[in-house]
């Protein structure tokens, strides 16, 4: 956790959530769900009768422990230096540091203390309830519902909160029998929704967070503005790929991929919300669910009109949820959306009128006389929808509104002092995001079950969006597809693999390692980054036109090979694909034609390419992934990641431009008083050739800096 101290709230929350998902995976791996692990009571003897209530020894132990822990905790927090330091970390971390405190160590101890207390509660709970991994993890909602009563700060408040919560759960359980109903609304699941309801209500009662000036002190890595032309090309490639691979897939696989694409669109909805504007929502799949349900119950004909209705409903619900929740920020906002997700799961999706038989069958799309008649057709529709929405989002990012969202993420207080109504801007982006997520559900064209829309599904979506690169459309595709298609264990594994790739990708940028994926926003004293704005031939890469032609020919050949089931050795096949798409294009950079200089970091890149090829050939593709179609998708994804990583190690950014952040002044032995940007300006002033400026290799920089000084 050290790496994210001082990072944005979003990053902290997402890292914590990812950790949680990863631990769930580890837990399921160590203790498979199909094996029971019975536990005895810690204290098996002794009973006490107080006023007609029987207390077992176990319960007495629980109550006693709670009291002792509360008293000790209060003493630690109020009476010891450590406790005071812990509270100081929350108030003002830098002030504590200035006063000789050690915020890093203090935070670590806080984490340790919190984790141990949670472990104690786990031990005590184990004999009362039969714990299984996911429900136990989601107890965190109950815990927050209680702790928020004390505004996450007061022990008596948390204690009171937990007693109120416990009583509420018991009373609601007692007064709502299995067939209880309120009008047409079945209340049999009300008991399970109580913690979420309480959490939501208590959070809404919190006073508005006040704007804080300089709450963030960090130099942020400039986020490249996405390129509209690249996005359009990407969309076309995506649709072509889906047509190609979809036609190779069996029926059930196509149906699974429908879910994958529905979820990919839901993940896409996080791009404007979290990526652009820094807001957080853990309820995106709830909106997908609402979209699916609206389509299934009203628009059973599949008419496109109902897609728009579904989108409008989601957008309105999104705005309604956001309106009260957005007075809050960070952790409270995340909790409020999580509570909303749980509430909808138990109280909306479980209603027989809403999802009959706990399923929702979303019809195929129909536009006027045009009717989609198969999973494959719907798959193409979804791919087109994804490509269109992605392109709209890219255009949005480049518009005035997109700039404003980014500005709001960087400094809300500055936006307010410019006259921006933060509230309406946030509600707007929330509504947009909910609408996109809803479209994913309404267009999915398959049958969903209730469990597709639980909080435990929404959490990994947020995580995968960040791992895949939040704010990037491609990341959303990767994340959503993974979650929709693969079981959660595989998802976690794949997410880790992607993380490794992204770290490797950053190796080409020394001093920049902290920026890999999740850890995206570590402070840097003097960010030195300045990209060439020069467009044209990618240095050291195949010329673009030829590369595209070669890629089309190669793709057609691969499709034929897969179609005719020529492929016998999948490891070899994968290696060939990687060779064709990830290795060959960069070869000219490593082995330059005579008369041209080598560019970038040649040694490490060569090593990496060999490792990549070897690993690709050794992965047991055929055993790991049963169906041909998914195997192809996995190999393609692997290849793309491999290619991006290669570019990263070589020192190029994903669009193929040379990235000079790797050229640290120490590295080339120069005075570091000038930043790259300043060096560029200085060079422009002394009249250095524009062409030279556009290729700031280390050598060029050396010339520039020398030119500026001498």
């Amino acid at each position: 956790m050290r790496g994210i101290e001082g990072a944005q709230e979003v990053v902290k929350i997402v890292v914590t959530v990812s950790l949680m998902v990863a631990l769930i995976f580890v837990a399921l791996w160590i203790w498979p769900e199909d094996q029971a692990h019975p536990l005895g009571n810690l204290v098996s003897t002794g009973e006490l009768k107080v006023a007609g209530v029987t207390l077992t020894g176990q319960r007495l132990l629980t109550i006693g422990t709670a009291i002792v822990v509360a008293i000790v905790l209060r003493f630690i927090l109020r009476g010891t230096r450590l406790g005071i330091a812990m509270r100081a970390v929350v108030d003002d971390r830098s002030l504590l540091k200035l006063n000789g405190g050690r915020p890093d160590r203090t935070s670590m101890l806080s984490w340790a203390l919190g984790a141990s207390l949670a472990a104690v509660s786990g031990v005590l709970l184990a004999s009362e309830q039969a714990p299984s991994v996911i429900p136990l993890t989601l107890l965190v909602v109950n815990a927050y519902a209680a702790a928020v009563v004390g505004r996450l700060r007061s022990i008596p408040g948390a204690f009171a909160g937990s007693i109120v919560l416990g009583l509420a759960i018991s009373y609601v359980g007692a007064y709502t029998p299995a067939d209880a109903a309120w009008g047409p609304i079945a209340l049999d699941n009300l008991q399970r929704a109580v913690p979420a309801i309480m959490l939501f209500l208590v959070i809404l009662a919190q006073p508005q967070v006040r704007l804080r000036a300089h709450s963030l002190q960090r130099a942020r890595r400039p986020m490249p503005v996405p390129n509209q032309r690249l996005a359009a090309i990407g969309g076309l490639v995506l649709v072509a790929t889906v047509v190609g691979i979809g036609s190779l897939m069996s029926g059930p696989d196509q149906n699974t991929l429908l879910k994958g694409f529905g979820f990919a669109i839901a993940t896409l909805s996080l791009v404007p919300l979290t990526g652009y504007s820094g807001q957080i929502s853990l309820a995106q799949l709830t909106f997908t669910g609402i979209g699916a349900v609206v389509m299934a119950s009203w628009g059973a004909s599949g008419d496109v009109f109902w897609v728009f209705v579904a989108v409008a409903v989601c957008s309105a619900v999104g705005a309604l949820v956001a309106l009260p929740a957005l007075r809050l920020s960070g952790i409270y906002l995340a909790l409020a959306t999580a509570a909303f997700a749980i509430f909808c799961y138990w109280m909306v999706f479980q209603q027989q009128d809403v999802m009959p038989g706990s399923t929702a069958s979303v019809p195929y799309l129909k536009i006027g006389p045009l009717e989609v008649g198969s999973d494959f057709g719907q798959l193409v529709v979804l791919a087109v929808a994804f490509a269109v929405i992605a392109n709209v989002l890219v255009a949005l990012r480049r518009s005035a509104w997109g700039r404003r969202l980014t500005a709001m993420r960087d400094s809300p207080v500055a936006c307010a002092t410019l006259g921006l109504n933060l509230m309406s801007t946030k509600v707007g982006v929330f509504a947009l995001s909910a609408a996109i997520a809803g479209a994913g559900g309404a267009l999915a064209g398959r049958t969903f079950v209730v469990d597709d829309f639980g909080l435990d599904q929404s959490l990994p979506i947020t995580m995968l969006a960040v791992v895949g690169g939040i704010g990037s459309v491609g990341g959303a595709l990767l994340g959503g597809l993974l979650l929709g298609v693969a079981p959660i264990a595989t998802t976690a594994l794949a997410a880790n693999a992607i993380g490794v790739f992204r770290v490797l990708q950053r190796l080409g940028h020394p001093g920049d390692l902290g920026h890999a994926g999740l850890h995206g926003d570590r402070p840097r004293a003097h960010p030195r980054r300045c990209r060439s704005r020069h467009r044209g031939r990618l240095p050291g890469l195949l010329p673009l036109r030829e590369a595209i032609a070669a890629a089309i020919v190669a793709a057609a050949a691969l499709w034929l090979a897969a179609r005719t089931e020529l492929i016998a050795n999948w490891g070899l096949f994968a290696a060939v694909v990687v060779l064709a798409f990830a290795v060959l294009p960069v070869l000219p950079a490593i082995l330059p034609p005579p008369g041209e200089n080598r560019r970038g970091r040649v040694g490490p890149t060569a090593v990496w390419l060999v490792v990549l090829l070897a690993v690709t050939a050794l992965i047991p593709w055929e055993n790991a992934i049963g169906s041909t179609g998914f195997r192809l998708i996995a190999i393609l994804g692997w290849t793309v990641l491999g290619a991006l990583t290669t570019l990263g190690i070589l020192g190029l950014d994903p669009t193929g431009r040379l990235n000079v952040s790797g050229a640290s002044p120490d590295h080339i032995g120069l005075d570091s008083s000038l930043g790259d940007a300043e060096a560029m300006v200085a060079a422009a002033e002394v009249g250095v050739d524009e062409e030279l400026l556009s290729v700031p290799t280390p050598v060029a920089l050396e010339v520039l800096r020398g030119g500026g000084d001498r």
């Binding site: 006040r210 704007l211 804080r212 000036a213 300089h214 002190q217 960090r218 130099a219 942020r220 890595r221 400039p222 986020m223 005035a400 700039r403 404003r404 980014t406 500005a407 993420r409 960087d410 400094s411 207080v413 500055a414 936006c415 307010a416 002092t417 410019l418 006259g419 921006l420 109504n421 933060l422 003097h526 960010p527 030195r528 980054r529 300045c530 704005r533 930043g675 790259d676 940007a677 300043e678 560029m680 300006v681 422009a684």
Partner: protein, 248 residues
């Protein structure tokens, strides 16, 4: 503003502070660290809520308005600890200021303009004009995150100008600038005031404050201990003891 008092818990950060900035006037606000200068700014902008007193912009009581409403009435500010949009470029920072202003200006709120423009400039032209006036023209496409502090402060100023305020609160805008740059900056402030902008300047560079300000207010421990013309303040013994003496 008048009688502004701000309390944080038991600590009284500001006690009954009153001061005003007229059109075209530059008022300096000086005082030792912790005197409450930034808190005063936050109270004026609505970032903190005073426990007593009122804030008026052009005669209108804005004490109960949100930060963004006050901004729309013509209040602009910069920050002591930088609040630039560091993932955007220099020109995009300023552009966001202009674009945000356009969203609310279209809704009928009038804002006074002070740049010598006809008021209906295309966004690009207005951004270029501001960058040029601040001497940032050559840095338009540079990410703000890679700028040194002094220039980033200018970007903040440019962004605030994009919103066309009538009163501008500047929180240590010259820290991070070297001497010639500070002199240029002083001229820029005088020009802005000459165009009718009221400026409240918090600055540790006493030389700059003495040069450009018509009126100076000295804050210590949350109270005004002296105010008046630069000469008067310079001669005031309490000020010398509290602040200037310690500095020199």
């Amino acid at each position: 503003m008048s009688g502004v008092t701000v309390r944080f818990g038991g600590h009284q950060a500001l006690t009954d502070v009153s001061l005003g900035v007229d059109e075209g006037q530059i008022v300096g606000l000086i005082g030792p660290n912790g005197a409450g200068k930034t808190t005063l700014f936050n109270a004026v902008c609505g970032v903190v809520t005073p426990s007593a007193g009122s804030v008026r912009i052009m005669g209108r009581d804005v004490s109960n308005l949100n930060t963004h409403r006050r901004a729309r009435l013509g209040l602009g500010r910069t920050f002591q600890r930088l609040e630039v949009f560091s993932s955007l470029t220099v020109s995009d920072n300023v552009r966001v200021g202009v674009e945000i202003r356009q969203t609310w200006e279209r809704r009928g709120t009038t804002a006074r303009q002070f740049l010598a423009t006809d008021g209906n400039l295309p966004v690009d032209a207005e951004v270029d004009l501001i960058l040029e006036r601040l001497g940032l023209g050559g840095l338009a496409d540079v990410p703000v995150g890679s700028l040194p502090t002094g220039q980033a402060r200018l970007v903040e100023l440019g962004r605030a100008l994009g919103a066309r305020p009538s009163v501008l609160l500047l929180d240590e805008p010259a820290s991070g600038l070297d001497d010639p740059e500070t002199a240029d900056f002083g001229r820029l402030l005088t020009d802005l005031a000459g165009a009718g902008l009221g400026i409240l300047l918090v600055e540790h560079d006493v030389g700059l404050v003495m040069d450009v300000c018509e009126h100076i207010c000295v804050l210590d421990f949350g109270s005004v201990i002296a105010s008046g013309d630069p000469e008067v303040v310079r001669a005031n013994e309490a000020v010398v003891a509290a602040y200037l003496g310690a500095g020199t």
